[in-house]
């Protein structure tokens, strides 16, 4: 019987395999005879041991992103962190203002809470990035109003990998004096420098499973620093109740093994060397050059202000669903459409960049990671060269070179 080769995994922006060291440590915690206590139980040693593990992980996460341990609130993931930040701020400061600023290219975990807040009476301004996916900080300044209480923008875009100038935006928010800055940094850690204090953010969402950690755990970093504008510390209204864990902001018993896994994953990510970053950049360049040679291939997002781990391209002259069906046996990548039904919806991020519906549908997101090799990249290039060529022939299409 011949072995069927598994598709090459190039979807590290969706999720990453758990680092074996992380998995081993989590298994240790799960099977330990001393580490299974409730970390909130202070009346016996079992709870103390688990509590110490949680606090150690909190320190690891904080250290990896330039924050203080007391600023880290564990959640079930970045989506919950985004929700806690957005609803928590909106609720707490509702008497001061009900205006929020975000961008059209944000993740659904920010856009959907915005839609819900609009339904509840808040106003949301959606900034439109330029054709490369970048926001000019002056757009944020122009959008701020006296009643703005929250600006929520992502650091690294999950579809096109562009890095927003959060430092400049943070300074603008601080000068405004009333708008808190929330940053979704789920795609940033391990891919580019992340330093919470330097970014000028007031809140930052993190995810473990994007960083070779487990799914089901993330964190919201909440600044403990008062700012010079006299706003004091950022405050949130809790969204769930039932035990007062995590400074009363996120009730519920923490999953010690998940938290420990996230801590170790972030510690490992913080040690990623410039050599590894350069290796991934080389692979991305190799992939882009191989695809560009096909002709009629367009790169989505800035090539210069982006992380090397993401490459998003559109293929002219091929229909999106056929492209995906053709490569599926060989490559695991994300598409430019959300297949929530038989008819796919083109990516709203690519549409916001000005790409046509057809080009948005015929786009692919390649997420490179620690396990990606040159051989993987060569398989991707060979597969797409063959299948794009075949589909263009079937379509009688001549791409614009």
């Amino acid at each position: 019987m011949s072995a069927v080769r598994a598709p090459v995994y190039l979807d590290h922006a969706a999720t990453t395999p758990v680092d074996v060291r992380v998995a081993a440590r989590m298994a240790e915690v799960l099977s330990s005879e001393t580490e299974y206590g409730n970390p909130a139980s202070s009346s016996h040693g079992y709870g103390d041991v688990a509590g110490t593990l949680v606090e150690s992980a909190r320190t690891q996460v904080a250290a990896a992103v330039g924050a203080g341990a007391a600023e880290v609130i564990f959640t079930s993931g970045a989506t919950e962190a985004n929700n806690l930040a957005m609803f928590g701020i909106s609720q707490y400061y509702r008497e001061r203002g009900r205006h929020i600023v975000t961008a059209r290219t944000e993740h659904k975990a920010v856009l959907d809470p915005c839609r819900e807040l609009e339904r509840r009476g808040w106003e949301v301004s959606y900034l439109v990035p330029d054709k490369e996916g970048l926001l000019d900080p002056s757009q944020v300044a122009a959008a701020l109003r006296p009643d703005t209480v929250l600006v929520s923008l992502m650091h690294v875009n999950n579809e096109i990998g562009v890095v927003q100038n959060i430092g400049a935006i943070g300074a603008i928010c601080a000068r405004h004096g009333g708008a808190w800055l929330h940053v979704d940094a789920a795609q940033s850690v391990g891919k580019c420098p992340v330093h919470f204090a330097s970014l000028g953010a007031d809140l930052m969402s993190l995810s473990a499973h994007k960083v070779y950690g487990p799914k089901g755990v993330g964190a919201l970093v909440i600044s403990q620093q008062g700012d010079s504008g006299g706003r004091g510390r950022v405050q949130l209204t809790a969204m769930q109740f039932g035990g007062g864990q995590e400074r009363g902001l996120r009730a519920g018993t923490l999953a010690t093994h998940q938290v420990v896994g996230m801590g170790l994953a972030f510690e490992i990510a913080a040690k990623i060397s410039s050599v590894e970053t350069a290796r991934v950049a080389h692979l991305q360049q190799r992939l882009w050059q191989g695809l560009e040679a096909l002709g009629g291939v367009l790169r989505n997002g800035s090539a210069t202000r982006s992380v090397p781990h993401l490459l998003n391209v559109s293929f002219e002259g091929v229909e999106g669903e056929s492209l995906i069906a053709s490569i599926r046996p060989h490559l695991a990548v994300s598409t430019g459409s959300a297949c929530t039904s038989a008819l796919a919806e083109p990516s709203y991020v690519l549409r916001a960049l000005g790409r046509s519906e057809r080009l948005s549908e015929s786009s692919l997101r390649f997420g490179l990671g620690r396990t990606t090799s040159e051989a993987d990249i060569d398989v991707a290039i060979a597969t797409l060269t063959r299948e794009v060529g075949r589909l263009r022939k079937v379509a009688g299409a001549t791409p614009v070179a």
């Binding site: 091929v318 229909e319 669903e321 995906i324 038989a342 057809r358 079937v394």
Partner: protein, 129 residues
């Protein structure tokens, strides 16, 4: 999206993709690339029968598979102003989701756009004789 075995086979092989030229070739197309689905059929007619058939399609796997299958089935068939199988039978054969029924109608339009001129031509030449 899942595809049945027949759809996958005809989508992957697309054996009759291409164009025909020369005498006795009738071409019909329908749809619009900008709208996401475009199909073209070339039918070569000899002695009132289809002697060769090719297709081109900028379309989803279901549409490509159905067009490829129709081009294969058409050869050595008589010219009739309809698809070799009804749209509903094609939908069942290829397990086409109901949301994509419009794409089968585009295939039918392209097919008829090639077949009807061929029938008209045959009838006009028959009358002349």
């Amino acid at each position: 999206m899942n595809y049945n075995e027949l759809t996958r086979r005809y989508f992957e092989s697309a054996a009759n993709a291409g164009e025909l030229t020369g005498p006795g070739v009738f071409r019909g197309a329908a749809g619009n690339r900008a709208q996401g689905t475009w199909v073209q059929f070339d039918l070569q007619i000899k002695a009132g029968m289809v002697s060769a058939a090719k297709f081109l399609a900028f379309a989803c796997p279901h549409t490509i598979a159905v067009a490829a299958w129709l081009a294969e089935q058409a050869v050595r068939g008589h010219l009739v102003p309809q698809l070799p199988e009804s749209v509903h039978m094609l939908r069942d054969r290829f397990a086409v989701p109901v949301e994509k029924m419009g794409r089968l109608l585009i295939i039918e339009d392209a097919w008829l756009a090639a077949v009807i001129p061929a029938i008209d031509y045959r009838q006009s030449t028959h009358i002349v004789r």
